[in-house]
Symmetry: C2
């Protein structure tokens, strides 16, 4: 399988695919200032919760490069605070962003406490780059494990449908839902992926088809409203999607349109799987009814393609995601195995 | 209800809304040459089978204007053949186009046979304009009758969902599926319409929301993949869509995405109605399985609005319509009443 790295560290620089240029241009952006990392997260050049977490961790290290080699611990600690606060301001709601920045700060605090000696800049950087590499590697292992568990559910020759992009471009490695397909193909199964374009922002058309092409996995693009017809034609044997949050009872929030796909799968007796790391489970939420539905800007629908496609002043409904009830989900594919909806991963 | 005429006759001229400029500009095009009528049909300035039929009938009359008042019957008959052949070449598959042109020719033949005298140009034009007016008026009556029968199925305060544009802009009057909503509102019921945008060509976003706005009917635009969520929220009490062809058993072909909406309605226990004139029934086809599914250009999906939104060379599935099986249809609303799927209108 061809290498396609969403982001990676090159010595002291964070390199990432500029996703705003996809699918028509593939360019790697080299970020050697914290400002360039902040801008990349802010403007969605890098997107997807796990990928943002990795970018922020590496961005923290990049941000310390402005210090002189002779910096004192006070100067290092102050700059670390400054850099992490700054990166935290790039996107307001990405949980992995804050999680990764907290982990970098805690790593530094623990190091200064445990070592009981003064850490100079090069020692500090060695520890922080190592921690960022660890975050990256854990994410990679998570993807691989999800892929392995999910691939076992698929059979040679199957058609599989996905919605939105829960793929390599959203993680440090090969994704969650798409990891299942990549691992299936790697294990020698012939799979054909059908990708919903995923209105309004077309992540399926722009990103999912592109990365499957890059990996040499056969893919067919369709408009969201064509999925039922493809199922009726008998061309889909399983559906695999990602998730943004999973309630304790197994109800799963994901990109708008996922719930409809789950109903169509049920009607056609096709198993519907959710692939997500165990960190996606939110035990504080008992059912999906408690997950609020975010409304987004109507212009995403009315001016989606750089051209106005609906009349001025029209009322628009544009929820960012929906909740698929547990009873429509055949299984939740996590890095610790395939869970029945309602079953929780070990803590 | 505000007047919004898709097309109408103004003395010897055909006037029509240039639908290619919607929803951002409303302009009426005055066609006083047959070439301008041909161009309007060809380039979709006027669209929808019933509306095309009316435009072709009026266009036939417009085309005779080039003759001198002293034209012989031989010259009139030759020009009539020339004009109808020319208009028939505007779009290859619109059945109503050929039907209307045949009817205009037959009207002239019958007149010359019955009158048993020479018809001059002004007498001929009087007969042909009258026949075009009759085609227009029959279409109007059909819309009104469908509206009346369908409106009786709706209750005050209901939310109703439609897909694509089976509205005023597709007919000489106020449509088929949308006629049901217009008639409901006219009869004093408060309705709120939810309009699927209808990818790939966005007829729902561009045309349905626009004409409902023009008529003052409350409407909310949504992406196709949001319909399930709106149903789950309890905001939809009925679905009404149009049809392109209905098989003898009640299976109904309509714009791609209709079948999926029917499944979603079934899951949420919402009645799903098809509104279409009895001429839509094709008794030669026993079930929907015999209706071929036309594939359209992949660029409609990948280059929807002047911008490339999918990678080069990607495989695309782009069927123009799908077939909703009779068991998902609660009733077929025709001009002769509401039929159970499988029941045929009187011939």
């Amino acid at each position: 399988m061809q290498e396609m790295k969403t982001l990676y560290r090159d010595d002291q620089t964070l390199c990432l695919i500029d996703q705003t240029l996809l699918p028509t241009r593939l360019e790697t952006l080299r970020c050697d200032t914290v400002e360039s990392v902040w801008e990349a997260i802010k403007t969605l050049r890098v997107r997807g919760a796990p990928a943002i977490g990795c970018a922020a961790a590496y961005g923290t290290c990049v941000g310390l490069r402005t210090l002189p080699q002779t910096a004192t611990m006070g100067q290092i600690a102050a700059r670390l605070r400054e850099v992490t606060d700054y990166l935290a301001s790039s996107r307001p709601t990405a949980v992995n962003l804050f999680w990764a920045l907290d982990r970098m700060k805690r790593t530094y605090q623990t190091a200064t406490q445990n070592w009981q000696k003064s850490l100079d800049l090069s020692e500090t950087l060695a520890i922080l780059w190592q921690e960022a590499d660890a975050i990256f590697e854990e994410d990679r292992q998570m993807c691989r494990a999800i892929g392995r568990h999910g691939a076992a559910l698929l059979q040679d020759g199957w058609g599989v449908l996905t919605h939105c992009n829960a793929g390599a471009l959203a993680t440090s490695d090969y994704g969650t839902a798409l990891a299942v397909f990549y691992a299936g193909v790697e294990s020698g199964k012939r799979l054909h992926v059908f990708a919903d374009e995923t209105r309004p922002l077309l992540q399926g058309a722009r990103l999912t088809t592109w990365e499957l092409q890059q990996h040499g996995v056969p893919v067919t693009l369709l408009c969201d409203n064509m999925a039922a017809q493809v199922m009726r034609e008998g061309r889909i044997q399983a559906v695999v999607v990602g998730a943004d949050r999973i309630a304790a009872n197994g109800d799963a929030a994901n990109k708008i349109g996922t719930y409809g796909v789950a109903i169509l799968a049920k009607y056609h007796q096709i198993p519907f799987y959710v692939a997500a790391p165990s960190s996606t489970f939110d035990r504080s939420i008992s059912t999906g009814a408690d997950i609020p539905i975010e409304q987004r800007d109507s212009r995403e629908v009315t001016h989606g393609f750089g051209r106005q496609t609906a009349p001025d002043g029209v009322d628009v409904y544009n929820p960012a995601f929906d909740v698929t009830p547990a009873e429509l989900i055949a299984g939740i594919i996590t890095e610790v195995g395939v869970l029945c909806p309602g079953q929780l991963p070990p803590q």
